[in-house]
């Protein structure tokens, strides 16, 4: 009896163990990551993949065009087989397989591909730390000595290469040097004209304009339904106001020999008080704290707000004229506003060395990859990514001045983008962005003006890893953001100083701001 009971027990234990060992095998093969041997239990329960696609196996036969895999991101969905990729493959004698993911998931995608040693031949680098990690992990191709294979690429990046921390011992990441758009104050010129007002030049005049926009019926419809400006919860909505006080929002500043946050600028509370006055007098669209982004734009589109602080590319180019609901679309001007001390400006942007493009160390045909990348840095290549194929999707009307027209179906933006036009350039934006040539004249001027107007001297460009920033950056930023909201929603101006002090001291201790100040100041002094 007992023996039989024992046998039963042993049998069931063996059964369980068998299952375990079978799967333990599966576990170890998958974990070691070196052996590609497949665990058998998987086959018994799961049908083997019946439809493997070629994209995983890069066959590189002699005479045949090499397969180049590329990964980039953006917010479009091109067709699987499209004009731009076909044409690019043909022109560079390769077979391009371009994977496209939404911007918000790009980093996760790269992370898993990197961890799985599956990186595509060519891909974006999204941040400093990503470049460093990939380089340290031996995932990136060292391009030292290959400069002459991609002259256009290296011409763009020559002075940036050394600035990228990942390039300390070679050339692994090619920084883009892209300069993103700076903000403009986009003010309704037609409303100013209706009210017989001149463009404001200082904060007092700006207040008067916003006041008139709110209460003097600037659109002449006899209804009190307008506001001076629309805003959201980002401090960027008041960029020129902070700029007029000499504060480059979002940037590091130098204060008594210490590098610190813009929020410690001595005039920070003055700017806050100015904004509070605008709000208290009802000149700012009151939902600013909770309004979704698109609804904020909507206030401009339907003629509720007379101004928005944003890169002018939106108001005067991309949204023109389709988004505006009034019969005649609004006209905008970009006034520059001076503060009490005669300062003016907006948040500074710096050529990016923390983002760029890199090539996988696993790449089979480095010449072909560089050929493709280099081609994308030529005017011809950029035209392909932005406009498509000449004669098929667009024609130059004046090539020297970048005047062009889209042809037939390609005038429709949906059609355009599903055929791969205007979707792939995010891979690598050069210092000379082709995009700017596609904008209208006023917008081009506005963009140039905004770049001129940046508070570059006040701001300190720091595109290196500062340890305290890596560890506590999000905590620091969160405290500053909460402070901004608390200051603007405080009941009276008397409370401002105590709210400010409380948050700044939290920033210094909880947010480890003091630690960061020391570190970055040290770095700053070492660069001088």
């Amino acid at each position: 009896m007992k023996a039989k009971k024992l046998i039963a027990l042993v049998l069931s234990v063996v059964m369980v163990l068998l299952l375990f060992s079978a799967c333990g095998g599966g576990g170890t093969t998958s974990t070691s990551g070196t052996t590609s041997q497949n665990s058998t239990p998987a086959d018994t329960s799961t049908p083997e993949s019946s439809a493997p696609t070629q994209s995983q196996t890069t066959t590189d036969d002699e005479g045949e065009a090499p397969v180049i895999t590329i990964l980039s991101d953006g917010d479009n969905t091109p067709n699987a087989d499209n004009l731009v990729v076909r044409e690019l493959s043909e022109r560079t004698n390769t077979k391009i397989e371009w994977t496209y993911v939404a911007g918000s998931e790009a980093e996760e995608k790269r992370s898993v591909m990197a961890a799985g040693d599956n990186l595509p031949d060519l891909f974006e680098i999204g941040s400093l730390s990503e470049g460093m990690d990939f380089m340290n992990g031996g995932l990136l191709y060292d391009l030292t000595g290959l400069e002459d294979k991609a002259p256009n690429l290296f011409a763009n990046a020559a002075d940036l290469l050394d600035l990228a921390p990942a390039n300390a011992n070679g050339i692994y990441v090619i920084p883009s040097g892209e300069l993103t758009y700076a903000d403009n104050l986009n003010l309704r010129k037609d409303w100013l004209d209706n009210l017989n007002m001149a463009e404001p030049t200082n904060l007092d005049e700006l207040y008067d304009v916003y006041y008139a926009f709110t209460y003097n019926d600037p659109d002449g419809d006899g209804v009190d339904d307008t506001f001076g400006l629309c805003a959201n919860s980002s401090i960027r909505s008041f960029d020129t106001i902070f700029g007029a006080y000499g504060i480059p929002i979002g940037e590091n500043i130098l204060l008594d020999g210490t590098v610190t946050t813009y929020a410690k600028h001595p005039h920070y509370l003055d700017a806050i008080k100015y904004v509070r006055k605008l709000m208290a007098d009802g000149l700012v669209e009151p939902d600013w704290l909770t309004i979704p982004n698109m609804d904020m734009f909507g206030k401009l589109w339907n003629g509720t707000a007379g101004a928005i602080e944003w890169e002018c590319v939106g108001p005067t180019n991309n949204w023109m004229p389709g988004r505006y609901t009034e019969e005649t679309p609004p006209e905008f001007c970009f006034p520059i506003i001076e503060g009490p001390e005669g300062k003016h400006g907006v948040q500074a942007k710096f050529p990016s060395v923390s983002t760029g493009v890199a090539i996988s160390s696993k790449t089979k045909d480095i010449d072909a990859v560089l050929r493709v990348l280099d081609y994308l840095c030529t005017d011809e290549g950029k035209a392909l990514l932005y406009l498509g194929v000449e004669g098929t999707s667009f024609n130059w009307t004046d090539k020297d001045n970048y005047q062009f027209e889209y042809l037939g179906d390609y005038q429709d933006s949906t059609y355009q983008r599903s055929d791969g036009i205007y979707v792939y350039f995010w891979l690598y934006k050069t210092k000379d962005p082709f995009e700017i040539h596609t904008l209208n004249e006023q917008t081009q001027e506005g963009v140039a003006q905004a770049w001129d107007n940046m508070l570059t001297d006040e701001a300190i460009d720091c595109q290196v890893d500062i340890q305290a920033r890596i560890d506590y950056g999000s905590d620091m930023d969160a405290i500053i953001d909460e402070m901004y909201a608390a200051l603007l929603t405080a009941d009276s101006d008397d409370q401002l100083q105590s709210i400010y002090d409380e948050h700044i001291s939290r920033w210094e201790t909880e947010g480890h701001g003091t630690e960061w100040e020391q570190e970055i100041t040290e770095w700053y002094n070492s660069t001088k």
Binding site: M1, K4, K5, A8, L11, M15, L19, F20, A22, C23, G26, G27, S30, T31, G33, S39, P41, A42, T44, S45, E107, S111, A114, A115, S127, S129, E130, D133, F134, M135, N136, G137, G138, L139, S233, E285, P286, D287, L289, T290, I291, P292, D295, R469, I470, D471, G473, S474, D475, D477, A478, D481, E482, Y484, A485, A486, T489, R506, E510
Partner: protein, 321 residues
Amino acid sequence: MSKMSKSSIKSPEKAPFSSRFLRVMRMDWMLYLMFLPGLLYILIFKYAPIYGVSIAFKDYRIGMSIFEAPFVGWKHFVDLFNRAAFLRALKNNIFISLEKLIFGFPFPIILSLMINEIRGGRTKKLVQTSVILPNFVSWVVVYGLFYAILSPNSGVIRDFANLIGYQGSLPNLLASPSAARPIIIISHVWKGAGMGTIVYLAAITGIDQGLYEAAAIDGAGRWKQMWHITLPCIRTTIIVLLIFRVGEMMYAGFDQVFVFSNDAIVSQIDIIDTYVYKLGLQERKFGLSTAAGLFQSFTGLILVLATNAIAKKVDPESGIM
């Protein structure tokens, strides 16, 4: 588990062991065969990658193998619990979860009982379909809708105030620290009730109709039938769902909080998941986020085991193990 050992002690009395064993094995090898695919699935797809939790104790960076990553012990946990913002998120997390549990858990039960009382088949179907609809609308859209209703400037409440002749200013509830949590709870109950209702309805439909007939003959009214038949019959389902819900205590709804949050109310509704997400934005922090995840899992496990034990004590038939 205790249940099983009890029954195996008791059962030998029924039949001599040898014949019982043979019969069981003859019949039951097929049960094990049947169980095999699910077991393999769990082992392969869930247990094989589970070594990933070790990242919580390592300084892992992309590009290195998880096994080679240097071991740092409890560093990430210490780091997390030294952050004031994390402790704030933990506190909020517990309160929001508790409130969601208290207000959100009974709701689908009540709803399914109410739906069960509907006579017309068509009406029943309509109601059943409508309650799951909010489930398909993403939180971003839900927020847009709340904004469209609650905006003090352009929302429905403004129109309503105008209608009753009130011209004064209205509070912005979406930016009010005191209203933040109630809004989170209400929107959670509203959006999540449908799926729970479906489970309870399935359980109710599975009840032997004969029980009701017998009760009706005995003169029990609808209330009594609901109280003495329906509820006891879906008791185990309720308990299983409750245990799962308690296990999720450390997850208070990332997507929801993420879209409803703004700088004025973040101090009230920041939860572990949103905080950890923000941590990762600055720099990919695999160690810290895995540590936070492991903390959430372990807390969940302890809570589940405790709830399960209590459930078994009160009612030996219930519980998940």
